[in-house]
Amino acid sequence: MTILTIFAAASLTTVFPQIAPHNQYSFSSSNMLAAQIQQGAPADVFASANTKLPEQLYEQGLVEKPVVFTRNELILIVPKSNPAKIHSVFDLRRPGVKLDIGAVGVPVGDYTRVVLHNLGLDDALSNVVSQETDVREVLAKVALGEADAGFVYLTDAKTVRGKVATVGIRWSAQPIVQYAVAVVKRSRHLAAARQFVRMLLGPVAQSKLRAAGFLAPR
């Protein structure tokens, strides 16, 4: 069986090896991975936490046509001990709250800014203490209790159950979080890479994604 090199968004760290354990994975922020592919990194498949980056690579002729294979939602997490006593997203406005979010350009960072804007909470950005380079960094710093709160994907929160508590975000404020996957054109295993993409859309992979909390592609 061909071993593929899959470049995948950090939020897929737990679920992708469950779906296809034999591949090689490089998990990082989607924009870091896209930059590496632009620099000629030897990836066979690129799975991004948005559609924008694979579409950009597609326009540059670096990947084949991307397809959406799953969706996600944003959620606010706080450490289990909840030191800043945050019970609603609106508590993020309180001075002194240590809010950890993704950097601009990192998908979760961009989604976070959309959520805050949709909630009329742009001023909460002044409470940001760090801008992380991928979503798992946000998760780690909140789970460790160093930050008071952070925005991650629903599926990330599920991987550290017991260490964090979640605060929901109303449905109408949610951004559209679509994950797109594309075959990298320079891949030496094009057939196997296309097979991997088809497999991701198939029932077995989809049920594993669903079990991890991801949503069906629309």
Binding site: A35, K98, A103, S130, Q131, T133, L144, E146
Partner: protein, 257 residues
Amino acid sequence: MIRKSALWLAALGALAFLAFPIVAIFARLSFHNLSAGVVGDALVVSLKTTFAAQALVLAFGTPTAYLLATHRFRGRSLVVTLVELPIVLPPAVAGIGLLAAFGRTGLLQTGLPFTQAAVVVAVAFVSGPLYVRQAIAAFEAVDETLVAASRTLGAGPVKTFFRVVLPLARGGLGAGEALAFARGLGEFGATIMFAGSLRGVTQTLPLAVYQEFDVNFNEALALGGLLVLISAALLVTLKWLTSSSTSVFRFAPSTSS
């Protein structure tokens, strides 16, 4: 003859390999890619934290090194090894260690993480040992007969330290400090883990390079070029200090083996 040309070929290969990435940065960058905002903020954070950290390193490292250089006691080599350990520690391990010690949920439970002070702590932790190590060697190289002469001539220990020991060790101390400064300026791993990355607060130049790499490669290149220039200036300073230190030592008559 064949052996000699093989030698030259190997040397040329090594030189080209080491110089090429540096040349490539400058070949591809144009400094007008530098958007003043990110660069200026990162430069200010880098300079502020590096100078603060090095002030701490000098203030605490110098007496520590002097003590270790002039005293022999049980467990001394263990202490010296402990002091040197952060030099060989992977920066990520340093970051985890600092969080475990000073994090909000760490042993001391401080509010340091995400503050500019946390950058200073991270930089001092990884760069300080370089200075202390070099300073121990510099103090050990000071001729004891000169120290003894100063004391017999009536100078107290404090006056002897400042008028005799410090001037004699100056070159070595300067070289150690320049090394520590350069290492501190390039600090990345421990900083991003312990202090996070926030523009204008904790985002130093190396952190800005990393963040810009996946947003704007040209800007990352320009930042890289800037760091190369600063580092090169430091290296030249270091070389100048080391050469002046040998001239200092040359005049010191040595009777000890």
